[in-house]
């Protein structure tokens, strides 16, 4: 490009400065896109894409109980050691029942001892240690772990991030229950 052309080109390119000002000026007048958090929260359909701390998946039969079979694969897979699962113990027998089993064994009969249920008795999760790597989600044999879309996690102490996920599942199921029932009512009101 010859110098004279270059000179006029440079002057013509100054127009881009005006274009830049137009863009920011337009933005200045437009509606804000952020949300004032404590007073407002974003629409739930937006945080569907958010992957927060892990949560348990409810079993299809009983929404208050997880699919979990206490295999402890997640515990051994977790690199941060933030998952604690305690297996359920077999139900305690009354002295009479125990006596009956002993008697049966003495008689040489085959007795079916009551076995422990598969579901966990405790499912503790320390979010403050978790690195959200998702290894537990992959390791879970029955797809009982998934990422929640819990966006607003606030706590004032370290212990606030030690979650009891069984209790969380239960409370969520209870919360969802009445909502599901009340929905048709709302629809009829609108109609």
């Amino acid at each position: 490009m010859n110098p004279i052309k270059k000179f006029f080109r440079s002057i013509a390119d100054l127009w881009s400065l005006i274009v830049g000002l137009q863009i920011t000026g337009k933005y200045f007048c437009q509606r804000q896109v952020t949300v004032h958090y404590p007073r407002k929260e974003i629409a739930p359909e937006i945080n569907q894409t958010y992957r927060g701390h892990i949560e348990l998946v409810a079993s299809p039969k009983d929404p208050t109980k997880p699919k979990c079979i206490s295999c402890l694969m997640c515990v051994s897979a977790c690199p941060s050691g933030c998952i604690t699962v305690v297996k359920s113990k077999p139900p305690k027998l009354s002295p009479e029942e125990e006596q009956a089993i002993k008697d049966a064994e003495a008689r040489g009969e085959k007795v079916k001892k009551p076995t422990a249920p598969k579901e966990p008795s405790q499912w503790k999760y320390d979010f403050s240690l978790c690195s959200l790597c998702g290894t537990c989600v992959e390791a879970c044999t029955v797809d009982s772990i998934r990422f929640s879309n819990e966006l607003y996690v606030v706590g004032t102490s370290r212990n606030d991030f030690k979650y009891d996920l069984l209790a969380r599942l239960k409370s969520q199921a209870e919360k969802r229950g009445p909502v599901a029932e009340s929905k048709p009512e709302a629809e009829t009101k609108e109609a």
Binding site: S10, L17, G20, T24, Y27, F28, Q32, V33, T34, H36
Partner: protein, 323 residues
């Protein structure tokens, strides 16, 4: 004797008023800057402290005042603490010849423009001292940039101011304003549009404002010359920067935009409206343009602004001689 005493009282009262004005303006401009930044990026800006965050700058100021004044190891303590003072206090003097209103001038000096240009130069020294004395590589680089930039951009600034001085035949800002009329087409910007643009660009360079904020480029130099300053040491530089912005806008208003004269009713309000419009434009520029590279910065100055300003000055001189 009596005359000198009244003059002295006038100057002292004027300087106190200027200091109050500068402090108040710092608060207003910090708020405007942060709110502006927010809205240009489609977010609310400061919102929590007071309704719409109006008390935020006061909270910021209190935080700065409450902080410990910390001198880094192996820094030169005398020069280190001299620099913020040297940066802030001469700025107050720059307000002395500014004609805020028909009678609202601290001290009407015949060589007002010269006084402003002379004392504005001290700021460069302050930045150099700050960067040098803090014993920090980022500080030193920032100081080096500040000196190269301010020295370069002072020249076109001077040449454009000189063009107006040629045209009006005076260096007294009040006289320059009184020679212009009330309506926009009677202002100097109509006869000197090129000088106005060159002045505006050089003023941005002179005050180290974006897109020419290389001495404190956050992404490369952490904070440039004021990296090591905490508390009010930093606060002084901050206030000085905003005061300098007001001064360059004030001079621009007096030279090109008719000063305190405006449609319908003349008065200091027109001056303030114009100054704040220019400051708003500066904030707008800051949140629009990306920072230039250092070679680009000097190329703009030496290859464009300086020749154009010289041509403009020669043209003005020729036309003044002709008519």
């Amino acid at each position: 004797m009596n005359g000198i005493a009244t003059e002295l009282i006038r100057i002292v009262v004027g300087l106190v008023a200027v200091a109050a004005f500068v402090g108040l303006n710092g608060l207003v401009l910090v708020y405007a800057e942060r709110k502006g930044a927010g809205h240009f990026q489609r977010r609310p800006g400061p919102y929590e402290v007071g309704p719409h965050g109006v008390i935020q700058p006061i909270a910021d100021a209190l935080k700065l005042i409450g902080k410990q004044l910390f001198t880094p190891e192996n820094a030169d303590p005398f020069l280190f603490w001299l620099a913020p003072l040297l940066s802030f206090f001469p700025v107050l003097l720059l307000f002395v010849p500014l004609p805020f209103g028909p009678v609202l001038t601290v001290w009407e000096v015949d060589l007002g423009l010269l006084l402003i240009l002379a004392f504005a130069g001290i700021n460069v020294l302050a930045l150099l001292l700050a960067g040098w004395a803090s014993n920090n590589k980022y500080g030193l680089l920032g100081a080096g940039r500040a000196v190269a930039q301010s020295v370069a951009y002072e020249i076109p600034l001077l040449l454009t101011v000189l063009a107006i001085a040629f045209q009006s035949g005076t260096l007294n800002l009040s006289t320059i304003v009184s020679q212009q009329g009330s309506w926009p087409w009677q202002w100097n910007i109509v006869t000197q549009p090129l000088a106005f643009i060159i002045y505006l660009v050089s003023a941005l360079g002179e005050t180290n404002r974006a897109p020419f904020d290389l001495p404190e480029a956050e992404s490369e130099l952490t904070a440039g010359f004021h990296t090591e300053y905490s508390g009010m040491g930093f606060g002084m530089f901050f206030l000085a920067e905003y005061a300098n912005m007001i001064v360059v806008s004030g001079v621009c208003t007096a030279l090109f935009l008719g000063g305190w004269k405006g449609p319908f009713v003349d008065g200091f309000w027109w001056y303030l409206v114009k100054v704040y419009a220019l400051l708003g434009a500066m904030i707008w520029f800051r949140w629009t343009y990306p920072r230039v590279r250092f070679d680009q910065l000097l190329n703009i100055n030496w290859k464009w602004l300086l020749p154009l300003a010289t041509l403009n000055l020669l043209g003005t001189a020729f036309l003044m001689k002709l008519f």
